[in-house]
């Protein structure tokens, strides 16, 4: 199963991803994909779909 398939199966809305984002997703190793899956399936409270409503970048 591809990385994108794993994201989609977990309920992450991949249809809004750009082609480049999808390429980067497919390049991820399994440990990286695990981190991505966790944050995108459990902790998207400040996001609307794939897109954030407020940047958390501070430092």
């Amino acid at each position: 199963m591809s990385n994108l398939d794993q994201l989609a199966k977990a309920g992450v809305p991949i249809k809004d991803m750009s082609a480049e984002e999808k390429q980067v997703v497919e390049s991820l190793s399994q440990p990286e994909l695990s981190v991505l899956l966790e944050v995108r399936t459990k902790y998207e409270g400040v996001c609307k779909g794939n897109r954030p409503v407020t940047s958390l970048k501070i430092l």
Partner: protein, 237 residues
């Protein structure tokens, strides 16, 4: 002579082959933490900033107080490996210089929190968010048990694309929060652009192997994800 960036031919996806390592790193950070995109409004523009600003500073402090000790650990291991590890050897001067740049930032943040009426003794006694401790603690594992290049990913996640000084100044002027409580954020907004350029130049000049790049990415994604979790819990619903 500076070696060229790896072509990443070993990566499975042909679409990212040839990207400079620093750019690929940034794209992976954005995947796990899209909130950090430069076109997204800063959290400092949030209409309820005043409500969660003290908690936000504490979350940041929970990371900042570990920066210099982590840099010292990375420097120690890089020195130990430098005789037969070209990547580690090139990290030594960078970590040395960056320690000097990061000194006392934790103290500044403490003083900013005191401006808000928070008590220093209570701040120091309080347990940091577990997710932050987990991601920061992972850095020690990567540094000591795998390779100190991991810490560049952590720095890339925290120091690249900083909020602009204009945004910080506007928040200080309009949020109703005492402007002195923004001192540390303002200093970072004015200096992290330079830190970012230095870091990207270093990363792209290192003789990296694919496993180094994957390690930096994982390290960056871990701390970016930890920040997302902590901030998601902090922001008003």
């Amino acid at each position: 002579m500076v070696q060229p960036s790896p072509t990443l031919e070993d990566y499975r996806a042909a679409g990212v082959a040839g990207l400079p390592a620093s750019l690929l790193l940034k794209k992976k950070i954005l995947l796990v933490s899209p909130h950090t995109h430069e076109t997204t409004p800063s959290v400092l523009t949030h209409p309820q900033l005043r409500e969660f600003y003290p908690e936000m500073l504490f979350t940041l402090y929970s990371t900042i107080w570990a920066t210099v000790p982590l840099l010292e650990a990375a420097l120690t291991v890089s020195r130990e490996r430098s005789a037969d590890d070209a990547v580690a050897a090139k990290l030594v001067p960078y970590f040395q210089n960056h320690i000097a740049e990061e000194l006392h930032h934790d103290e500044w943040m403490l003083e900013d929190m005191e401006v808000l009426g928070m008590k220093r003794s209570e701040i120091l006694e309080r347990l940091p968010p577990a997710g932050i401790a987990e991601a920061v603690g992972a850095q020690y594992y990567w540094i000591y048990h795998y390779h100190p290049v991991a810490f560049l990913g952590y720095l890339a996640a925290l120091e690249t694309d900083p909020v602009s000084a204009e945004v910080v100044k506007k928040a200080a002027a309009e949020s109703g929060i005492p402007p002195a409580a923004f001192r540390t954020l303002l200093i970072h907004s004015e200096h992290d652009f330079d830190h970012c350029e230095d870091l990207n130049r270093l990363i792209d000049g290192l003789p990296l192997q694919p496993q180094h790049i994957r390690l930096m990415s994982l390290s960056a994604m871990q701390i970016a994800a930890a920040y997302d979790k902590a901030f998601t819990a902090m922001l008003p619903g």
